[in-house]
């Protein structure tokens, strides 16, 4: 059977996500089967491509989409993409299965599946896209689906705030990323990532290179929550547990890491690139480890340990040696498997016991045996105990770090310390809830439904299988991936057992240190009580300050520009039109008026002028609003007649209709206005008079100037001639409006529609107040 194209997979993914909510409402409990089948089907198509990709030949596809922007639907499936794609779909299957039971009692569970399907598809898009702009598109879609999922419990204010925080941080990073990509595109002249392979020298020697690196890394660091952008991730735990398992540990937060890996051999290799990510990664690794120590909520513990691991992965990319890439790859797979599992386990505990506080959990192994075994398997992998994949990951990590010159000694201390903190987290999350004496308040707790057990167990079990037969499962993928990251094969076999050496010793030290820290934790916590970090060094405070500062600025700007005084608006509008326009009028080419030779006037022109002037006088001196409105109507009709006389029947027709409706509207408003009194003082009236007069004089001068200049524009002629043959109409004004310049009209009527909604809302607001 031929494999479906990658574009087809993506389109199907979005289509299925769109109908998923309706299917859920229709199928209810039986949705489970569908929820598993969909990601598994995707997983299978990627599995089928495994032999092809593992042999070192990437799959490529390209369709033209918006060629003028350089945006093509081009996809590439190489070792790196395939690894991510398989993780995304496999963990996706486990999460879909789990969530269809977990969310059974949520009110808006139907929506959830739409969101999470959209996320899965977008994430696949991120790792499959070869075109940078396309990648960016999917990148933003993952941010948006993350926003929707974090804020899923939108009744809670904290959920909404956390969702917004995640969106703003990753969204700002996304903008930086876009800017970086555009710069990169301008340097290389292409947006296809695969076309940069041979351009490393060109890019790294370009003067824009530092800017490109900075912008792309800001994008990657915000997404993957690297210091100092890490603070959104722990708050994102407001999302339901399946979301935390899927987006905020196993897949989405690794998008930034994917990006760094993807761009590594195109724009990497320089001190700037390597050192920046090495330092940022190492800092995140150790700080997150330290911060995890005082957490007591299951999910926050896991969140901080995720941060620490993300830092480790970034640091490994920064080291950039062959061994480091190998460690990166194994560590990445191991982490996705065990952390996905542990988040789901945390969700199960929350679901069955109603609490996520580690202090309140204990002795559950009898009540929840399967969950306990699953948690133990994942925990052993996380602690790096032989024979799980996590063990190989940590061994290789230590080896890679020891190789680093000249800071290897210092880095290894940090790496061991961070790993020790991971061990503490494992004890707290993976063992402590299950071990010890059964607690009386947890008597009634029972095992979770099967659908919530299968997924986590398979993920945890995969960790064991991968540990036992690493070369069989991931060896080829590693080779193919390293070609993508370093552009060369590693030629290193993955083995479980490396013999008794320094690295194994370090593994023991890590475990011992972890146990020690765990035992000391109660004492340490009581010592740390009341100890608060100063706000200045907390990046989350910077975020809060920046956000509230922006809102204050916006409030100040609004209240100073829009104070509600219509007169002031008029003055601003008139002067901002008048001043620049009169500068133009009197500066360029000088002001010169040549009056037309024929100055004779007809009697009806005189009559019309008299009517208009009289109406104006009446308007200004009237002592009631009704009189003013009527005289303004007269004035308007007078102007309309002028349009007729000078051959603009279209404009006249519209003017008449508008004047009529204006009078009606004014009369309607009249009923709501207070009694008419002359409130303005003489000085005020003088000021208004001056403003009005200057506007009038300006218009007169402009008209005189325009009529005395020879208009060499051939537009009039062009439209006049083209109207009938091209526009099929003799009314030039109308043809221009609906055909030649129809796009302008479309914009205008859209604005009109929005204005109507605005008027409606304002009136509603008023009636609301009087109620």
């Amino acid at each position: 059977m031929r494999n479906p194209s990658l574009l087809f997979l993506i389109i199907t993914g979005f289509a299925v996500s769109a109908i998923a909510p309706y299917l859920y409402r229709l199928l209810k409990v039986r949705f489970v089967w569908f929820g598993v089948a969909f990601p598994l089907a995707l997983f299978t198509t990627f599995m089928l491509r495994y032999p092809h990709v593992a042999s070192g030949v990437p799959v490529r596809e390209s369709w033209s989409w918006v060629p003028s922007l350089g945006l093509d639907l081009s996809f590439m499936l190489d070792g790196l993409s395939l690894t991510f794609a398989m993780l995304v779909t496999l963990i996706g299957a486990a999460v879909f299965l789990y969530a269809s039971v977990y969310l059974r009692h949520y009110e808006e569970a139907d929506r959830f599946f739409g969101f999470i399907g959209m996320f899965m598809t977008s994430m696949l898009g991120v790792v499959l896209a070869d075109n940078m702009l396309l990648l960016f598109l999917f990148w933003e879609l993952t941010s948006i689906s993350s926003f929707l999922l974090i804020g899923f419990n939108h009744h809670a204010a904290t959920s909404r705030a956390s969702a917004l925080k995640a969106l703003l941080v990753t969204g700002a990073g996304g903008l930086a990323l876009l800017a970086g990509m555009l710069l990169l595109g301008s340097v290389t002249g292409s947006f296809e990532i695969s076309s940069f392979y041979a351009m490393n020298d060109l890019i790294t020697s370009h003067r824009l290179y530092p800017a490109i690196v900075a912008l792309i890394l800001v994008g990657a660091f915000t997404k993957s929550a690297q210091f100092p952008f890490h603070f959104w991730l722990p708050d994102a735990m407001a999302a339901p547990s399946p979301v935390s398992a899927y987006l905020h540990s196993a897949t989405m937060v690794k998008a930034g890491i994917y990006l760094i890996a993807r761009f590594n051999h195109e724009i990497g290799g320089t001190a700037l690139w390597q050192d920046t990510i090495l330092v940022a990664g190492a800092a995140t690794m150790i700080f997150a480890g330290l911060l995890s120590y005082r957490q007591s909520d299951l999910k926050r513990l896991l969140a901080y340990s995720t941060l620490s691991v993300l830092g480790t992965l970034v640091m490994l990319l920064g080291i950039g040696s062959k061994l480091a890439i190998k460690a990166f790859f194994i560590y990445l797979i191991a982490h996705s498997l065990y952390k996905g599992t542990l988040f789901l386990v945390a969700g199960t505990l929350d679901h069955e016991t109603g609490t996520r506080d580690v202090g309140k959990l204990g002795g559950l192994w009898k009540a929840m045996p399967v969950t306990a075994v699953t948690a133990a398997l994942a925990s052993f992998s996380m602690m790096g105990v032989i024979p799980l994949i996590g063990f190989i990951g940590k061994e290789t990590l230590y080896k890679a770090v020891l190789e680093v010159q000249p800071w290897g000694q210092a880095l290894i201390v940090l790496a061991v310390a961070a790993s020790a903190f991971l061990v503490v987290v494992t004890f707290l999350v993976g063992f402590r809830p299950f071990l010890g004496k059964p607690r009386p308040e947890l008597q009634k707790v029972h095992e979770a439904p099967v659908a919530m057990l299968v997924g986590p167990f398979i993920l945890a079990f995969s960790g064991l299988m991968l540990g036992l037969f690493p070369d069989f499962f991931v060896g080829h993928l590693l080779e193919a991936s390293s070609v993508s990251i370093l552009s060369e094969r590693l030629g290193i076999e993955i083995e479980l057992w490396h013999g008794f050496n320094l690295v194994l010793l370090l593994s023991f030290v890590t475990l011992l240190a972890g146990v020690g820290l765990y035992l000391l934790r109660p004492i340490a916590l009581s010592r740390m009580e009341g100890l608060h970090l100063p706000g200045l060094i907390k990046p989350s405070i910077w975020y809060e300050e920046a956000l509230s500062g922006m809102l204050r600025f916006a409030a100040w700007l609004t209240s100073s520009l829009q104070n509600g005084d219509l007169r002031r608006y008029l003055v601003v509008i008139i002067f901002s039109a008048l001043i620049p326009a009169s500068l133009m009028l009197f500066s360029t080419g000088g002001f010169s008026v040549t009056l037309p030779a024929d100055l004779s006037v007809t009697p009806y022109e005189i009559a019309l002028t008299v009517i208009i002037v009289l109406a104006t006088a009446l308007l200004l001196t009237s002592d009631s609003r009704l009189k003013a409105i009527v005289s303004m109507g007269v004035l308007g009709f007078g102007v309309g007649i002028i349009f007729i006389i000078y051959g603009a029947p279209d404009v006249a027709l519209t003017t008449f209709a508008i004047e009529t409706l204006n009078v009606i509207l004014f009369v309607l408003v009249l009923a709501h206005l207070p009694k008419f009194t002359k409130r303005s003082r003489a000085t005020g009236r003088l000021r208004d008079g001056l403003i009005a007069a200057s506007a009038g004089i300006f218009m007169t001068l402009t008209v005189l100037q325009v009529t005395s200049t020879d208009l060499s524009s051939r537009l009039k002629e062009y439209f006049g001639n083209a109207s009938l043959p091209d526009g099929h109409g003799r009314n030039v004004v109308n043809v221009i409006l609906v055909d030649f310049r129809a796009l302008d009209t479309l914009g205008e009527i859209t604005v009109l529609a929005i204005a109507a909604i605005g008027v409606f809302a304002l009136l509603k607001l008023r009636t609301g107040k009087t109620d």
Partner: protein, 138 residues
């Protein structure tokens, strides 16, 4: 203030003015008129009817919620851009069909677009008129 003469004549005027507004709309491509002026005239017809018979009666005769008409107008205008997109032409390039029907003549996307403008202007004006007039009763 209720005037029997105005109230009776407004019924006939409503129909006549509406016909006139459609006439303006259709002939707009060749003679003075068009969707904007047509829409305003149609709105003025209902405004007259409202002055004579009160806002509730006018709302009833108009039948639709004005905002729905606004949305419909915008929708029609957007639909008129579809042939150019689907045909792979410049955005909003006009497409004409010769119907051979007298009076209407050729039908094309610009006419459809003008119908959209007509509906939108009618809807907006009536929304404002009805909202302002309806305030008294609240």
């Amino acid at each position: 203030m209720h005037s029997l003469i105005l109230s009776t004549s407004s019924r006939y005027l409503l129909v006549l003015l509406q016909l006139f507004s459609v006439f303006l709309l259709l002939r707009g491509h060749n003679e003075p008129g068009g969707g904007f002026a047509g829409g305003l005239v149609a709105a003025a017809a209902y405004a007259l009817y409202f002055i004579a018979n009160g806002v509730e009666e006018a709302r009833r005769v108009f039948r639709f919620e004005p905002l729905t008409v606004v949305v419909a107008g915008l929708g029609v205008a957007l639909v008129s851009t579809l042939p150019s997109i689907l045909g792979g032409m410049e955005f909003m390039q006009s497409v004409w069909v010769k119907t051979g029907i007298p009076v209407i003549g050729k039908v094309g996307t610009p006419l459809l677009f003008d119908v959209g403008v007509y509906l939108l202007v009618l809807g907006i004006t009536l929304k404002i008129v009805f909202s302002l007039a309806g305030e008294d009763e609240v």
